[in-house]
Symmetry: C2
Subunit: 169 residues, 2 copies
């Protein structure tokens, strides 16, 4: 996942490991985070595989290593973008690919969002179905965690609809 995120950020322009960390922390922190201990080794692996290329610079006596996405890196990124949006019951992983949807035609984005909704719906229905039984057999706290899930999945569906509407104009 981290490698695709790095590729995605590099699609917007060259960045150093430090810059990547800043970027992720600044605008992706509500759905993803990564430490230096994961970013630097990832960059090394990725350069070794040829999907990114490094360029060492010295600006004002300051050493910095910039990374550029290669053609094979772009191909790998776009291939990942074509795959369905990842959905997790316990993490907002679906936001990761949506974040980079700029690189996809609107129609494909629509397909992705509709497919995502079709993944969330049955999960919501199972929880709603369990609701009455849990309310009987379990206590208020356990039931409240279930209610959290129901509201959360509904929120994802509404968010998808909002984005789909925004894409219409």
């Amino acid at each position: 996942m981290l490698e695709y995120i790095i590729l995605g950020i590099l699609m917007y322009g060259d960045k150093s490991g430090y810059d990547l960390k800043q970027y992720i922390q600044r605008i992706m922190s509500n759905f993803f985070d990564a430490s230096f201990g994961s970013i630097y080794p990832a960059l090394k692996r990725m350069e070794h595989r040829g999907i990114i290329v490094s360029r060492e610079t010295v600006e004002g006596g300051k050493f910095k290593k910039f990374y550029t996405i290669s053609d094979s890196g772009k191909a790998e990124f776009m291939n990942w973008m074509e795959q369905p949006v990842e959905f997790s019951k316990t993490k907002p992983d679906h936001l990761i690919k949506v974040f980079f949807c700029r690189f996809l035609p609107k129609e494909k984005v629509r397909d992705h969002l509709c497919a995502l909704k079709k993944e969330v719906e049955p999960v919501l229905h199972v929880l709603e179905h369990n609701g009455p039984e849990v309310k009987k057999q379990y206590d208020i706290y356990q039931f409240s965690t279930l209610k959290f899930g129901v509201g959360y999945y509904k929120y994802i569906l509404n968010w998808c609809d909002d984005l789909l509407r925004a894409l219409e104009d």
Copy 2:
């Protein structure tokens, strides 16, 4: 985290590794999951440390290993329950401790929920503060992931309020 969850479930009564997996899958699946490959080694570690005790049974020719929480296990669990609710920006970890709040007096639960709100609020405000800037500099998809975060944190706060209200009666 898994070890505390196992302790918490065993607070309700003895269970086998298989039962624990079923239980987690059935009613905690929207905020936590664990595989057998993590549950069985955890049980082994925990028994070695003396916080749980196993008992092997054969019922109808079927072998099963039940685990009981020990007094030191109960002490460790309660100590964890007294600590503030864990909050993660990217996962609904706060539900884990709330799930077991039955073992805490109402006043302590109230404190936990208020403290949780106080942790979520600044995170929400930072996101809301970044909003206008992100809307300008970034595209609709990136902005939509930020909006997801804003709505999500608001949802957590509302859910806390609902639970606090339910505790009043």
